[in-house]
């Protein structure tokens, strides 16, 4: 059998969602993954938003390998040994409105691909696709080793470094300016320790974001997510900043782990996994036309990611774009036309699935998040002010305004502060 209706390259969340949605509609689907099994190579922070999963599996989305439901969010600005934290308690686990959960990709991706297999997609693992088959500007198949397999549509779901989006000519090569680098460790604790240290119930967990000292005040941030009996801890930094400041991300990670606000959580834990990965630029990097003749790009391959110093979203958009691509292919089959013109309705489907609106909403954010002061001056300023406010040593207490003014000296002008504040609120 060397012909399918659709071939999907990559069994990450985007690819498996597309394969699932298409196979369910009766398409013959070949899903090819290079890893030994889906998820075996995939890295991410650790949190998945539930809404796309609820749409994909309305009946039984809770069967997903969920580690813990996120019931508390913390954003900490670190400076020196101090931290200023904003805490937000969200819904308790009982609520059906729970917004996100933590997951381990090894389990999550495997489960999602299994769901695709169950509705008839042929899931092949341990095979790397080497090339696209293209003739007269139309993509009509894939090559792996010496073998060629053909299809009406090829969906590239091969992740952030997608060579196939490049090969199909819809995306230029990535340049360092457009990417951040992330490292992540999984640190094994015990279930009880997690629940004690984070003060959460059995299925509950937290999502923490860190900026400031964690990246040595470079653009980026740190994260901590609680799993069942481990935490996912990581640092993401703009790769341009890393090289211009001659900083090693591993070194930042080591120092991050020693910060008192992290130490207290991971003490006595054992590192069981270490990984590194690229992430598209802070903000959005979507490609304007993620389709070509016989070809669609989904998930990270199309640049559908939102990332800033303190939050990362990609899995949800990956799932939604996989569903949108399936809609597009279904419509193309109805008219038996898989040309770029016909597939251009993908933009419409992305919009109706909410992918584009999410990305566009954040479209203004990068300039704000690209602002280096978010990662340097502000964390220092806040920590400095609070430090002085809360240091009681018998000396004369100063007025808040005074402290603030003094702390700002040399770090930032009042004018800049006003401008950043305005810019920030406008883009939120």
């Amino acid at each position: 059998m060397d012909r399918f209706d659709v071939i999907v390259i990559g069994a990450g969340p985007a690819g498996s969602s597309a394969a699932y949605s298409l196979a369910k509609e009766g398409f013959s689907v070949l899903l090819i993954e290079r890893g030994k099994f889906p998820g075996s190579k995939n890295v991410f922070g650790g949190r998945i938003y539930t809404y796309p999963l609820k749409r994909l599996f309305p009946e039984d989305w809770r069967e997903a390998p969920i580690e813990r439901y996120v019931v508390q969010e913390n954003i900490s600005m670190l400076s020196g040994d101090t931290a200023v934290t904003v805490q937000y308690d969200s819904l308790r686990t009982g609520s059906s409105r729970v917004n996100s959960f933590t997951a381990i990709r090894l389990k999550f991706d495997k489960w999602l691909a299994k769901r695709a297999g169950e509705v008839g997609a042929m899931v092949i693992t341990g095979t790397r696709v080497d090339d696209l088959l293209v003739s007269n500007g139309t993509v009509f198949g894939v090559r792996a080793g010496g073998d060629e397999v053909k299809a009406n549509v090829i969906i590239a779901a091969d992740g952030v470094a997608s060579i196939f989006a490049q090969k199909a000519g819809i995306r230029p090569e990535l340049i360092p300016k457009e990417i951040s680098v992330g490292v992540k460790e999984t640190i094994k604790l015990t279930k009880k320790r997690i629940e004690d240290r984070f003060n959460v119930g059995e299925k509950e967990g937290v999502a923490n974001a860190y900026i400031g000292q964690v990246t040595n005040f470079l653009r980026g941030g740190g994260f901590l997510y609680t799993n069942k009996d481990s935490v996912s801890l990581g640092v993401v930094v703009q790769s341009e900043d890393l090289s211009s400041h001659r900083t090693e991300i591993q070194e930042l990670m080591e120092r991050f782990k020693l910060h008192p606000s992290i130490q207290k959580y991971i003490e006595g834990g054992k590192v069981v996994e270490y990984s590194a990965h690229m992430i598209p630029e802070l903000g959005t990097r979507m490609i304007p036309r993620p389709y070509a003749n016989g070809f669609l790009a989904v998930g990270d391959a199309a640049g559908f990611v939102l990332s800033h110093g303190y939050t990362y979203r990609g899995v949800d958009l990956a799932i939604l774009s996989g569903m949108a691509a399936a809609e597009t292919v279904k419509a193309a089959r109805a008219v038996n036309d898989y040309s770029a013109g016909s597939l251009s309705r993908y933009l419409h489907d992305l919009r109706s699935h909410g992918v584009l609106s999410e990305l566009e909403e954040f479209g203004r954010t990068p300039s704000f998040l690209g602002n280096p002061r978010i990662y340097s001056a502000y964390p220092q300023l806040l920590c400095g002010i609070l430090n002085r406010m809360y240091t009681v040593d018998g000396g004369k207490k100063e007025k808040m305004f005074h402290i603030a003014k003094e702390e700002m000296k040399g770090k930032i002008s009042l004018m800049q502060l006003m401008k950043d504040l305005l810019g920030g609120t406008r883009s939120m």
Binding site: D2, I124, G145, G146
Partner: protein, 268 residues
């Protein structure tokens, strides 16, 4: 144009726990087989490769046969991915607990059930029990000649010429078809499953509903009751701690120092 007439071949493959993941249950003293990653027994991969090379040269058919639980399907899919034509799993609860005697018996019966073959391939031995009994056992059951520890094989006019590894070198033997061959570990480079091969495995599926009755097995002769082996005792040997000393510097001095130390500690 094939050099001689087409060959009908069968390769017996076993799925074993990955060598580096071998664990012994501290209480039951048996091998832990659940929840560990598994692979095709390495010398069976060499047997597959040898058979595939013959198939490439002479044409014909190649069946992959395994006896074991349903999870062995994975190994048979890999075999088809590499180029086998079909995969057959002999699976039956009654076979559980079989030692090498019933295993050889059951596989021989399965081979008879599946048809006439020119060559029956086995690996030299498995990594999880390493008895090397099964190939020779099958030859005895089927009353066929056998060549063991084979590293190279050639077929011409109904004759087989094979090179086998022995302790201090090689021997070359010749015999007639049909026969049983057990293949020496490391004699070739097993090919990787291809994309089209994997697709074929999924498309045709594994014939996994062959049971003890289908191949005419006598329940008395299989499973625990058919197994004369009694496991008296299993010991795990703890490796001694190594001192891990490194002798650096100029080679002559380092070696002299090493020899002195070995002598001082009474090792040499």
């Amino acid at each position: 144009m094939p050099e001689s007439s087409e060959l009908r071949m069968v390769v017996c493959i076993k799925q074993v726990p990955k060598a580096e993941q071998l664990k012994i249950d501290p209480v039951k003293k048996t091998l832990v087989r659940e929840g560990v990653e598994s692979e095709i027994n390495p010398s069976d991969l060499h047997a597959l490769e040898m058979a595939l090379q013959l198939k490439d040269k002479h044409g014909g058919s190649l069946l992959a046969l395994s006896m074991g639980p349903p999870r062995f399907i994975q190994a048979l899919e890999t075999a088809i991915g590499m180029g086998a034509d079909e995969g057959i799993l002999l699976s039956d609860r009654a076979l559980g607990g079989s030692d090498t005697l019933p295993t050889s018996h059951a596989l021989s019966k399965a081979v008879e059930h599946l048809g006439d073959f020119d060559i029956i391939f086995c690996g030299e031995e498995t990594t999880d029990s390493s008895t090397g009994h099964v190939g020779p056992g099958m030859a005895a059951n089927l009353d066929l000649p056998q060549l063991t520890y084979v590293v190279e094989v050639e077929v011409r006019d109904g004759h087989v010429r094979a090179k086998r590894a022995v302790e201090d070198g090689f021997e070359v033997w010749e015999t007639t078809l049909p026969l049983v061959i057990t293949v020496n570990h490391g004699c070739n480079h097993p090919r990787e499953p291809t994309l089209l091969g994997k697709i074929k495995a999924r498309t045709i599926g594994i014939i996994d509903d062959v049971n003890a009755d289908d191949v005419g097995l006598d329940k008395e002769k299989i499973g625990l009751s058919g197994s004369p082996t009694v496991v008296d005792k299993i010991e795990t040997v703890e490796l001694p701690d190594r001192s891990g000393r490194i002798y650096s510097g100029e080679a002559r001095e380092a070696v002299t120092k090493l020899l002195d130390d070995l002598e001082a500690e009474g090792i040499i």
